[in-house]
Amino acid sequence: MRASAAQKVDPAHATLWARHYPGHDMIGTRTFGFWLYMLTDAMVYAALFASLGVLSHVVNLAGGPSPSAFINPVYAYGETITLFLSVLIYGYSMVALKNGNHSGVIGSMFAAMLLGMVYLVIAGIDIREMFAQGIIPEASGFLSIFFTIIIYHALHIIVGVVWMLVMMIQVAREGFSANVVYRLINLRLFWHFQAVIWVFVFTFVYLQGMVV
């Protein structure tokens, strides 16, 4: 801290160079960066949920329907179950990765991906039904943020599904190279993160909406 503290290191015996320095742990660095990315995405969600808070008053319904009138809990539960199941099964693919089992990774990832697709189908039906009833983002400030949050979340699921598809091909092609492994780990983070976010979406958008 002080210059005088510097003198305490004995120059005669100090190590000056890191010879044969192995460089940096590539996988650790990549995952760290992905954590940082997820922090930014969490901030996006934080801003969106804050907006939801601001736009959840009676005036923000602009005389339109209130959420309790149009939220369909069946779909929301369906989405919850498929997404959590998908995350669980993705976990199995990580176990397979630890065991170095190619087909295990690909197989469980395939199942996780299918479940992600089911989620998307349910969400799609849900949104279509609402649109059909005239419950559209243009109708009021509340509906604007309502749809923005659920669609933004669904976009993440689409990204996750495409990513899984790519990873299955890469595992098949090049096995467990460092590049593939860090991507699998990051995808795990990503996929878990979507489940965590869903908890918030479910609580603040669906449950709270139904109660109000």
């Binding site: 801290m1 002080r2 210059a3 005088s4 005036v59 602009a62």
Partner: protein, 348 residues
């Protein structure tokens, strides 16, 4: 190595910083800095000579609120100068004394002193404490919704405040006097010594209501109602304008505030009520279309549809807009001609 080192390196012609060092020395010895300072000062005097303090409205408060602002403003500045000026002097002193070749002694490893650290955290901390106290007090004193200083006056003097509803359009000010059922465009008339309370809204975009010599700003927002209050100390005419960017007509969106004695105010109200112009919501709908008030465009309405102010807010909340034509001011002169042809004054 000290001075000896400097000489050593000076022999090495390629060394840049010793050259600079020399230059600084020469600069100081020749008193070139004095010359420079003199030149700068005279240039400054020359250029600022033309400026007068006439226009420095914030420094000439004429209302209770603006006086209060001014009081705290001076306090704030004085306290800050107590710390900024010594800091500046200290910096200059250190720069001078510890310049290479200066008198200051050189301690190449000195970089820590707990005493100094405590002082450098302590002084700002205390200052900020004092300023915070003053700031909070000032905020309550001039709180637009219920200014402490005006409440005090009212408690002492009693009497009813004058009420004014302000509607900002693109780009004019409409002042409605709901008690008197009159309205005035781009001209605000208020009695001296009596609290005036405003309710404000806007039709299309955000504006900011400001009369520098009487009262500070409050945002004027579509679909919303804000409040403001003032007391004028002295009869006179004061400028007022919108302080928030609201589009092409902003620069012309100014109004005159006439502070007049109570008797004159009553007279003005009476004469205004004689005006044949009536302002209904339908008329207002046309009035609120984008219009750049290049000519000042003052106007009086002798009667106003009751509840117009709240009606406008309701309409806006329901989604009413007064859209701006595309790139309306790309050619402003042409636009003004068109505008004049379309909107003949008084046609509401």
């Amino acid at each position: 190595m000290e001075a000896a080192g400097a000489k050593e390196t000076r022999e090495d012609g390629s060394d840049i910083y010793t050259n600079v060092y020399l230059e600084v020395q020469v600069f100081i010895e020749n008193k070139r800095y004095e010359m420079c300072a003199k030149m700068l000062l005279s240039l400054a005097a020359l250029t600022l000579g033309g400026c007068s303090s006439d226009g420095l409205y914030l420094l000439k408060p004429e209302g209770l609120i603006s006086h209060t602002f001014y009081h705290y403003f001076i306090l704030d500045v004085v306290i800050m100068l107590f710390i900024i000026v010594p800091t500046t002097l200290l910096t200059i002193w250190a720069m001078w004394r510890y310049r290479k070749g200066g008198k200051g002694s050189y301690h190449p490893t000195w970089s820590h002193s707990s005493t100094i650290e405590i002082i450098v955290w302590g002084i700002p901390l205390v200052t900020v404490g004092i300023l915070s106290y003053l700031s909070v007090k000032a905020i309550y004193d001039v709180n637009p919704y219920n200014p402490g200083v005006i409440s005090k006056v009212q408690k002492a003097n009693g009497g009813d405040p004058v009420e004014v509803d302000v509607i900002a359009t693109d780009w004019r000010w409409l002042f409605i006097y709901p008690q008197q059922h009159i309205a005035s465009v781009n001209e605000l008339v208020v009695p001296v010594g009596v609290p005036v309370r405003f309710r404000l809204t806007s039709t299309s975009v955000m504006n900011d209501f400001l009369i520098p010599q009487l009262v500070g700003m409050i945002d004027v927002m579509p679909g919303m109602r804000t409040k403001q209050a003032l007391v004028a100390d002295k009869a006179g005419t004061y400028i007022g304008y919108s302080a928030d960017y609201s589009g092409a007509g902003l620069s012309w969106m100014h109004f005159q505030t006439r502070a007049v004695r109570m008797a004159q105010f009553a007279q003005w109200v009476k004469s205004a009520q004689q005006s044949p112009q009536h302002l209904s919501y339908a008329g207002f709908d046309r009035f609120a279309k984008p219009y750049i008030a290049v000519g000042g465009d003052r106007q009086i309405f002798g009667s106003v549809q009751p509840g117009l102010f709240d009606h406008v807010i309701d309409e806006v909340m329901r989604g009413k807009v007064w859209p701006t034509p595309m790139a309306m001011t790309e050619n402003m002169v042409n636009y003004m001609k068109k505008q004049r042809a379309e909107q003949k004054a008084g046609d509401y």
